[in-house]
């Protein structure tokens, strides 16, 4: 099973993820040169917000992920929690509709699901997929938004609450899949309220963050996968 999963991950890596997951990294491909004053303002704004958001060591938040996908006849709604400890430790626990847990650190991935009721542990160095996912999650959850400005056209949608839309540029490989990514910040602009990813296929994924606590004490059980959920 693990082998099968590994192979699956490599397939994705070889064929797809270098395009899709690489999107965020590709954002950094070429810094925009000679941008308009608006872009310069946005860079300033993103850096300011990024600095504000990134001023935490730990994060604890509930989330609801809504997936409006052509594959499903109705919205797929996931509920769960995210625990984050900087620099590279994230636990993603799904409580419904099925229980699933994954811990991603800078060295390994450990995951469990109630379907198999088994814990799988895989070295991260052998799984570039999760390496990239971790990179992306780190960017979004940790507030390093400045890097997203590169490779994307950034638009300020709304100031209160602050809503910023990222649209991949032509030279960005993510352009083939992603239509845009929209970040909505909390009123205090200290953290995200929502991330919305719109794909070219029409699929939309929205993650709402609720009950977010910054610098909340986290114990080791927050990062346990089996029996935690």
């Amino acid at each position: 099973m693990i082998m099968y999963w590994r192979i699956g991950m490599r397939v994705v890596f070889s064929m797809i993820l270098c395009v899709i997951v690489g999107a965020g990294l590709a954002f950094g491909a070429e810094t925009s040169k000679g941008g308009t004053p608006g872009q310069a303002d946005l860079r300033e704004l993103l850096n300011t917000i990024g600095k504000r958001v990134s001023e935490f060591k730990t994060l604890k938040t509930d989330f609801t992920q809504e997936k409006k996908m052509a594959m499903f006849k109705q919205k797929l709604v996931l509920k769960g929690r995210i625990y984050l400890q900087k620099p590279n430790k994230i636990a993603w626990h799904v409580d419904s509709p099925l229980r699933y847990s994954v811990l991603i650190t800078d060295k390994l991935i450990r995951q469990w699901d109630e379907d198999t009721n088994q814990v799988q542990e895989i070295s991260l160095t052998k799984n570039p997929v999760f390496q990239n996912v971790l990179g992306q999650l780190t960017v979004w959850f940790s507030g390093e938004y400045g890097s997203l400005l590169d490779g994307n056209t950034v638009r300020l949608v709304k100031r209160a609450p602050l809503v910023i839309e990222f649209t991949p540029r032509e030279n960005n490989p993510a352009k083939k899949v992603i239509k845009n990514i929209t970040l909505t910040f909390r009123d205090d602009q200290k953290y995200l309220q929502q991330i919305r990813i719109q794909e070219l296929s029409g699929d939309v994924t929205t993650i709402h963050f609720m009950n977010t606590l910054l610098n909340a004490p986290l114990n080791s059980s927050s990062f346990e996968v089996k029996g935690r959920v």
Partner: protein, 796 residues
């Protein structure tokens, strides 16, 4: 005849000494000036045998795109810096590498079209074969389909599903797994552990990036290799301080080898020169002895031009031998100088000239033996060395006396050190007994000597280059060497079709996936058309409907829509047979598998360079014409076999020539055999000592030993001649000085960093030292015991 003509010629030269000296001086100045414009050959090819397999493999490696690549590994040294900084440095360096030295830079794959290129519905129909479809067929059943549908649902709960869930719509069965099986061997074919991120090659730890640079500079063009290395270093200096770069390229080896050899020759020449000067000036305290020292240098300068006129560009290795040959050839001048200082009369001078000539003849014949070798480099070495020795002989006999007699010089008062050495008596029986025992021990040890046929060990590249390669291997893997299976064809399609057939045949021989072929992920157009037709038949035979029904039944338990997998069923028959997109990943991968040279296409497949694979695949090459294997290990094995065959011819020939010349000189078997004692000692002790210290023989030190045989036999000739004719013209001291100069000349090579030169020096030092010891200890003892006519006088 010698007695008749030598005095005449000697007198003639004396009568025209100003002209002779003027001509020698003029020719030397012209030849010396010409050295500045002389170009040398820095590659080892000349030293390789003309074996069909070896030549083809070497030609292949030279012509292949494998040899026109420079690989650069960039490393982030500052932990605070990120991949983004690294990629920026890669892009900066890539942009700075421009023609004419750098023609193309690949820092990663253009990933924009990867998804389309490898899409399940476009790529799979073209590459999946009969067995793959059978595997798919086995999955179209309720249990498997149900498991897969559940897997797709579960995947939508995972973090990565943010990007990936919708992709399952066009691949409910996980056909991408089958595609992966086609692609997974690709990194192995590169021999490196490479990931791709943001269009860049990156290491698994994310701290290193790799770029591949194509250059039109031939690896064997040492001058342009130097230019390339310098240009590359200049560009690398422009990288940010937090990035270092390791360059991996055969070009650096060529440039470095030339640098090392040049430095070695300089060092060896300086050491030998200083040692000679100290030896002569301290011992003789006569500035005229410098003429003796200059003779071999003049001979080398002349010989370079004469040999080049016949052979074209001379090899650096051959010139490297010049230092040793200078040491060898100094003997003749030395013998003449000592004899003249001792006031030798005409009769003694004739005898001396005879001895010197036969000494030179034995040395020349030892080089002449190399003409019986099939290796072209040995012919060049033989010509150059014979010229050196011959010119030294002529100058020692006819030019040196002119310089010595320019002004009157004082004769050496007797008794000298040489006289004391001559009169010293080693206990005869004990000396011979010890010699017999030691030689027997050496003979016994020599049975366990090993032979190293790996020519790579003769590579003298500087440590920096080797350390960079070691670091590269630590980061990117690639420790196991790859061999190449080559399929040729007049057109690309013809070669690819043959390659498809070969790949099918090989899959029956190598079943563990160690054979990486283009056919596995991009077969010929004909094969892809066949695969597409088979794919269409497969689904039209009711399997598409069956799968649709099974998915409908399985997905009822989950909120899948009716159109959840419509992209898969709608796209089943929309595939096309296209050539690889020239900007796409397949085209870039193809570059590693396809060569086009001189109107011929070559498709390369890769496998571990292990003997059992080579043996197994050799059978396939016999079945398919126009196919062959290029294996480093096979080259080494052929080289070993060839060298062994050559040695079986050259070694007996060298011995035979020496034996014949000894007999011709003495016309007496007893004395001829005594004169051969140093030769036997030198050869047996050399092999024995190498075995004792576990130093393997190689193609270079064996040739050096064969060449040295002609030198050490001179010691035996001189000593036996001295004791037989009671010459008293300083032969003992001359032989001693001769051995000292020879050992200095070849010993200077022990300071060489270039393995081939070091190996040569080691072999020569052992042979000469042991040969000399036996000549001064064993020969007088044998002469006294066997009653050789020691009391005979020169008047006889």
């Amino acid at each position: 005849m010698f007695d008749k003509y030598f005095p005449r010629l000697y007198t003639f030269v004396f009568q025209h000494r100003k002209w002779v000296l003027g001509l020698v001086l003029l020719a030397t100045v012209v030849a010396g000036a010409g050295l500045c414009a002389t170009r040398y050959n820095g590659n080892l090819d000349l030293m390789l045998p003309p074996d069909k397999d070896i030549t083809r493999s070497m030609d292949f490696l030279r012509d292949s795109s494998l040899s026109d690549k420079v690989i650069i590994s960039l490393t982030l040294t500052d932990p605070a810096r990120t991949k983004k900084d690294l990629f920026a440095a890669v892009d900066q360096l890539a942009a700075s590498l421009k023609p004419p030295l750098f023609t193309k830079t690949i820092a990663g794959f253009s990933v924009a079209n990867v998804m389309e290129e490898f899409s399940v519905l476009q790529y799979a129909p073209q590459v999946l074969g009969e067995e793959d479809l059978a595997s798919l067929d086995s999955q179209i059943n309720p249990e498997t389909v149900s498991r897969k549908i559940r897997g797709i649902y579960l995947q939508s709960l995972r973090p990565e599903s943010i990007f990936m869930s919708s992709l399952s719509r066009s691949d409910p069965l996980g056909i991408k797994m089958l595609i992966l099986n086609k692609l997974r061997a690709l990194p192995a074919s590169m021999g490196y552990g490479v990931n791709i991120e943001d269009g860049h090659f990156i290491s698994r730890d994310g701290r290193h990036a790799m770029m591949i640079v194509q250059t039109p500079v031939p690896m064997m063009d040492s001058q342009r290799c130097k230019e390339l290395a310098t240009a590359l270093q200049d560009k690398i200096k422009g990288l940010p301080a937090f990035v270092t770069a390791d360059v991996i390229s055969g070009h650096l080896h060529t440039a470095s080898n030339e640098r090392v050899i040049k430095r070695d020759i300089e060092v060896a020449s300086i050491i030998a020169s200083i040692a000679f000067l100290l030896l002569f000036v301290v011992l003789f305290r006569d500035p005229r002895v410098l003429f003796v020292f200059i003779i071999p240098l003049i001979a080398v300068v002349w010989a370079i031009h004469i040999a080049a006129a016949f052979e074209g560009r001379l090899s650096y290795l051959v010139i490297g031998f010049g230092t040793s040959i200078a040491g060898i050839s100094i003997d003749y001048g030395l013998l003449v100088y000592i004899a003249m200082k001792r006031g030798a009369d005409t009769a003694q001078m004739v005898k001396l000239a005879k001895l010197v000539t036969i000494d030179a003849a034995t040395t020349m014949f030892s080089f002449f033996v190399l003409y019986f070798s099939l290796i072209q480099g040995y012919h060049q070495l033989a010509l150059f060395s014979i010229l050196c020795v011959f010119l030294c002989l002529l100058m020692s006999l006819f030019v040196l006396p002119l310089t010595l007699s320019w002004k009157q010089y004082p004769l050496v008062p007797a008794p000298t050190l040489g006289d004391r050495m001559r009169e010293f008596r080693w206990p005869a029986k004990l000396s011979i007994g010890v010699w017999v025992v030691l030689t027997a021990v050496a003979l016994y040890l020599s049975l366990s000597v090993t032979f190293d046929s790996d020519v790579k060990k003769l590579d003298g590249s500087e440590p920096g280059i080797l350390q960079a390669e070691e670091r590269f291997r630590e980061v990117w893997g690639g420790k196991s060497n790859q061999a190449v299976f080559v399929v040729t064809g007049k057109s690309l399609e013809e070669a690819m079709e043959k390659n498809d057939r070969v790949c099918r045949e090989v899959s029956r021989v190598i079943t563990n996936g160690d054979f990486t072929s283009l056919a596995q992920f991009w077969p010929s157009e004909r094969q892809r058309a066949e695969n597409c037709a088979r794919w269409d038949r497969f689904w039209k035979e009711g399997r598409a409907d069956k799968l649709k029904g099974l998915i409908g039944a399985s997905s009822a338990a989950y909120p899948f829509s009716d159109q959840a997998f419509a992209p898969f069923f709608d796209g089943l028959y929309t595939h096309r047979i296209d050539a690889a997109n020239p900007d796409g990943m397949i085209a870039q991968l193809q570059e590693r598998f396809v060569l086009h040279k001189n109107g011929e296409y070559r498709i390369l497949s890769y496998f571990p360079d292990e003997q059992h694979y080579v043996d197994a695949l050799s059978g396939v090459t016999r079945t398919y014409s126009g196919t062959f294997i290029v294996s480093g290990k096979a080259i080494s094995a052929s080289l070993a076999a060839f060298t062994a065959k050559e040695i079986r011819l050259l070694a007996p020939l060298a011995v035979l020539f020496n034996v014949v010349l000894c007999w011709l000189f003495f016309r007496n078997w007893k004395e001829a055999l005594i004169a051969l004692v140093p030769l036997v000692t030198g050869m047996v002790w050399f092999v024995g000592i190498m075995a004792l210290f576990r130093i393997p023989l190689n193609i270079v030190n064996i040739v050096a030993a064969i060449v040295t045989s002609g030198v050490i036999v001179d010691y035996g000739l001189g000593m036996t001649y001295e004791y037989r004719y009671n010459l008293r013209i300083g032969t003992v001291i001359a032989v001693t000085l001769s051995a000292a100069t020879n050992v200095i000349g070849s010993g200077a090579l022990l300071f060489a960093n270039y393995p081939a030169l070091y190996s040569t020096g080691l072999a020569m030092v052992i042979c000469m030292a042991s040969g000399y010891l036996s000549s001064v200890i064993v020969i007088p003892s044998l002469c006294s015991i066997l009653g050789t006519s020691r009391q005979k006088t020169v008047q006889e």
